[in-house]
Amino acid sequence: MDTKVKSVCETCPQFNASGLKKLGVNTNNFDFVVALAGNPNTGKSTVFNALTGLKQHTGNWPGKTVTRAEGGFEYDHQKFKLVDLPGTYSLLSTSEDEEVARNFILFGKPTVTIIVVDASRLERNLNLVLQILEITENAVLCLNLMDEAKRNHIEINTRALARDLGIPVVPTSARFKKGIPELIQTISEIANNKIKCKPHRIKNIPKNIEKAVTKLSLEIEKEYPNIPNSRWIAFRLLEGDTQIINALKTGEFV
């Protein structure tokens, strides 16, 4: 794992600029689905626009993108459909925004999930990141607003972060179009299985809960072998999430 991540960060192959085409809203016949998640106010829409060439506007507020916006880009002859999820602080609650985001990552099974975070507020943003990593394995952390972080004298060791999170980390300043080529490159490599992610799983959980979750997720795996997120499903079952209960009955997430 460790070496794989390094290979992305250190020896990025020459970015194939001629292979990139921004497809705007034209998302027919795509090869991969990419989800775009993140907290409000992290420049998520700027990343979306930089990737797709669209000019979607979402303001300086949480909850602007209530409906899912979609766009696309083509890289190395493969078409990627990009789905912009509502900006949320968390996926554990019951608001409409969170439900949309949670359901898309769980049931929509995107090939790759880009998680946009504000580099100067990393700790707060990791709350959402860690939850997403419980649901999906293939994710890339887009460490956005690096320019602001620099202005605030914050330094981030991206290599250590990538190692700890178990997913590639790409620093960007989407406003100035910095880091976007590297982001596209990484997305493509994850989608084509050139990078294998081994995401961090939540550790600081009281023993009694950990025991219950393990017991429950073992039972779930017995019924649905090979699902990557039995632990998340166990969390949701304990939370009493009716949607998950129904999905479990119909086998929707297999």
């Binding site: 609650s93 100067s120 507020r121």
Partner: protein, 340 residues
């Protein structure tokens, strides 16, 4: 328009307004009274009797038929009929006017109590109804939900053990967590303990407890207890209650305490330029509101300070995990901190 006269028109308008008011004013409106009467059937009476008997027996009191009629707000013959029906269904046994619950009856009563407390929990967690309305609404709902619906509700709420007042909720199989504690009014001074239950009846006393902003789950220290007043300290503030009202607070006495309760205060006590560490959220913060606070990083161990004071006093913006988030005072009072 032959008889039109602005005064007449106004008069007719006023009459209509008064009629609408009489029909629909809260609680005493004629429409509600008729609706309530319509909903009161034998099932309601039977279930209310069972509940009353259950609580009385738990308190070690024996109930007679005449006491039933005086305590319950139903017509005497309705109660009489219900009692006969309950005897034939083996819910109760009657010996020289004294009424006793059978095992069947106890189980039935527990089921009603389960629904009532679950519904209060539901109202607290998933709706915006005021605390004062929870009891009344649960009194209605307890007669309407069947066992299956109650189980579904419990699953959605995460199989809660306690209702928002601190009363244990019987599980599906009748298991119940135990509520330890004694009334606040009976405690000697300097006792340290935790509020584990707030009684919501009678309403007058409950209103006073709410007005004082006393929170369930708070650690308290009794400062004064005499015939006229009970004073206690909790979370950076002093609370004064009459002994009558203090009876409605149940305290679990703590012998050994590792938390220095003098340092634990509500976030509303934080001053500009001070910094603090969050100890946790009060039990009084519930449902969506509590989840939001947790999502925003108001969790145990987080550092917090005041970022901006509002020109109109409220809300205050707090700096937490590198972000400025404004909270209203009622929310801030639910966040417990330790000043650095």
């Amino acid at each position: 328009m032959v008889t039109y006269n602005p005064l007449n028109a106004l008069l007719i308008f006023l009459i209509i307004i008064v009629l609408v008011y009489l029909l629909f004013r809260p609680k005493k409106g004629w429409f509600w009274i008729v609706k309530n009467n319509y909903n009161t059937n034998e099932k309601t009476v039977v279930e209310d009797i069972l509940k009353l008997l259950y609580h009385s027996e738990n308190d070690g009191e024996i109930v007679t038929k005449s006491e039933l009629t005086s305590k319950l707000n139903f017509k005497t013959n309705l109660i009489q009929n219900s009692i006969e029906k309950m005897i034939s269904n083996h819910f109760i046994e009657v010996e020289n006017e004294k009424i006793k619950l059978t095992n069947n009856g106890r189980a039935y009563a527990l089921r009603i109590i389960r629904v009532h407390r679950l519904w209060e929990k539901f109202l607290a967690e998933k709706t915006g109804y005021d605390k004062l309305e929870w009891h009344e609404r649960a009194e209605q709902k307890e007669h309407q939900l069947n066992t299956e619906e109650a189980n579904l509700l419990a699953a959605q709420l995460g199989e809660p053990k306690f209702d928002p007042h601190g009363d244990p909720i019987p599980s599906q199989s009748g298991k119940m967590a135990i509520l330890n504690g004694v009334p606040l009014s009976s405690l000697p001074i300097y006792t340290i303990g935790k509020i584990v239950h707030i009684e919501d009846e009678p309403e007058v006393a409950y209103k006073q407890i709410l007005a004082e902003n006393i929170h369930i789950g708070s650690h308290i220290k009794v400062l004064e207890n005499n015939a006229t007043r009970v004073t206690f300290y909790a979370e950076g503030e002093e609370f004064k209650l009459s002994p009558k009202v203090a009876e409605n607070l149940t305290i679990d006495v703590i012998e050994k305490h590792h938390l220095d309760e003098n340092k634990l205060v509500r976030l509303t006590n934080l001053k500009e330029q001070e910094t603090a560490t969050i100890i946790g959220l009060s039990k009084e913060s519930r449902g969506e509101s509590r989840r939001r606070l947790l999502d925003l990083g108001f969790v145990k161990g987080a550092k917090i300070s005041i970022d901006l004071i509002n020109p109109l006093k409220e809300p205050t913006a707090y700096l937490i995990k590198e972000t400025s988030i404004a909270l209203r005072n009622n929310q801030a009072s639910n966040i417990l901190i330790k000043k650095d």
